[in-house]
Symmetry: C2
């Protein structure tokens, strides 16, 4: 099956032509934040036409367009429910109609982290596993779930896509989601600069180099022994581990897959979380194995294939 | 359908004969903690024979024996996986064999809080709702879930029964479950005496009356304006509210039902939690309504009926 996949972020859109478990072509559209999605649609069309042409096909030769979107998505109605302003006009836009009219193919949309989990389940770290939690540690924290081989979506499409917003510290930081002390507020790429700047001793730390602190710098300076970097790294690891404990209690997975750019430091992250859950979770059947994601930025592209299959099943069931 | 129901606690066992949505007879077996369950079985038999006789039936006239048990239970295999020592010999005991041999009827066992949710869904606060989270605030905190009209159980029977152990304060208290800072460790009947005793100013508080602090005293003294009682009450409300936010994000319920003895103060508890979730949860479809449980201690008894129906379906499916 050939599918066109979009992996939409806040500052760029990854585009791909996928055939089964292979990427035939990939491209990228970059822009500055909070764009109008409507204004971007012609740019997306152009890029998809370029990519399909490069592999000798038309967009309409694909089975469909699969979109991973950074927000709360109702796959069953192809609706963007919320993206906290990542795109100025995301919720309410009829991408399905646009896809059908412009590309001649049906569209399926899902939360970006859910689509990455679909990819990892299809041909990645979660292949062969039916009960999986996936954490994506990046600008935000994605927390997505599969139980019994199916994505958990819930009555209003929120379940299994907002695990990064589970509370870990009830007296913690305010989050843009409205929550207080959720994992994303405490230890994500978007909040790390502020967390670091306010950390006791930051002024004298090697992290204080004029740039906003990112995870790459944090793990590098911690590895070099900077005491403040070590403290902040420990705090982030602790936040992620506590979040994994709650997700494991909530969904009872066999494995927990962790992805995102910070997993360059998986040699530190995986053992910490595995050790924490082994010792601090009331799971008497055993403990889920903590595994690094395998597909990196390609996970959501590849998840487009199972998503499109599910969308076709859904259309068939609707008659 | 007539069912014999047991609601097993750490210090007593409630017994009932149930017909559909009515209790025909109830009884209670009291004892001190950590008893041998095996030693209690003859006492349970005697009480069930007494109750059935009182309504003119034999135990074997019932469709089955439904047990709500305080621990992690695998309903599908009728196995007690863990009860953290509530009974000295709970896990591993063959209650099903005992029931068949002694009472002549099949047995079904489920986590006590899950069975209470079944009851509230059957004829209580959750009637007609298919997506429900239920919190039971008592000695421990039960957190159970129904999605799409079915109990959430997960791959290893843990999911949807340990919601009281979701982390709310990652630097908080150690829990007997092995967790750190879970809701039960922070604000349950079992930990409240210690939380209160260590609270700043406790010595001068009206809570300091020689007895271990319980929720009844806490809410009474807070209502009278004792400043320490007010602070601790606020902390407990905050813990429960943060736990509800995480459970609502995790399972996407239409309603959250709250039960347990402390709900004598539901006039304080319900508005606090409703207000918290209205303002601090990333739920864009709307917010779940927070409702008090309706059935009190009878919830688990009544849950025995749907549990027995499900057990019969399971036996039929197994062939």
């Amino acid at each position: 099956m050939r599918v066109l996949s979009l992996d939409m972020g806040g500052t760029h859109i990854g585009c791909a032509v996928v055939e089964d478990d292979k990427l035939l072509a990939t491209g990228d559209i970059s822009f500055s934040g909070a764009q109008s999605l409507r204004a971007l649609l012609p740019v997306i069309e152009q890029e998809l036409r370029r990519l399909t042409q490069s592999v000798g096909m038309l967009p309409s030769d694909a089975a469909g367009l699969a979109i991973g979107y950074p927000g709360i998505i109702d796959f069953r109605t192809s609706t963007i429910l919320s993206d906290i302003g990542k795109y100025a006009d995301g919720p309410g836009i009829d991408i399905g109609g646009w896809s059908q009219k412009t590309l001649g193919i049906p569209m399926a949309i899902e939360n970006d982290a859910r689509m990455a989990l679909l990819g990892e389940h299809y041909v990645g770290a979660a292949a062969g596993q039916d009960d999986v939690v996936m954490l994506t540690l990046g600008t935000g924290i994605g927390g997505t779930v599969m139980m019994g081989g199916r994505l958990v979506r819930g009555a209003h499409a929120h379940a299994g896509s907002v695990g990064g917003h589970f509370v870990v510290d009830l007296n913690g930081r305010n989050c843009i989601c409205g929550g207080i002390g959720c994992a994303e507020a405490e230890a994500s790429g978007s909040t790390l600069p502020d967390v670091a700047r306010k950390w006791k001793g930051f002024a004298g730390s090697s992290l204080n180099n004029g740039d906003p602190t990112n995870f790459k710098a944090l793990f590098e300076e911690a590895a070099k022994g900077d005491p403040v970097a070590l403290e902040i790294r420990e705090r982030c690891l602790h936040v992620w581990a506590a979040n994994v404990v709650t997700q494991a209690l909530a969904y009872d997975p066999e494995i927990v897959v962790i992805g995102g750019g910070v997993m360059r430091s998986s040699d530190v992250i995986i053992p910490f979380i595995q050790n924490y859950i082994d010792n601090h979770s009331w799971l008497v059947w055993g403990k889920p194995r903590i595994l690094p994601a395998k597909l990196g930025n390609n996970a959501a592209f590849l998840g487009g294939v199972p998503l499109m299959i599910e969308a076709a099943q859904l259309r068939a069931a609707k008659g």
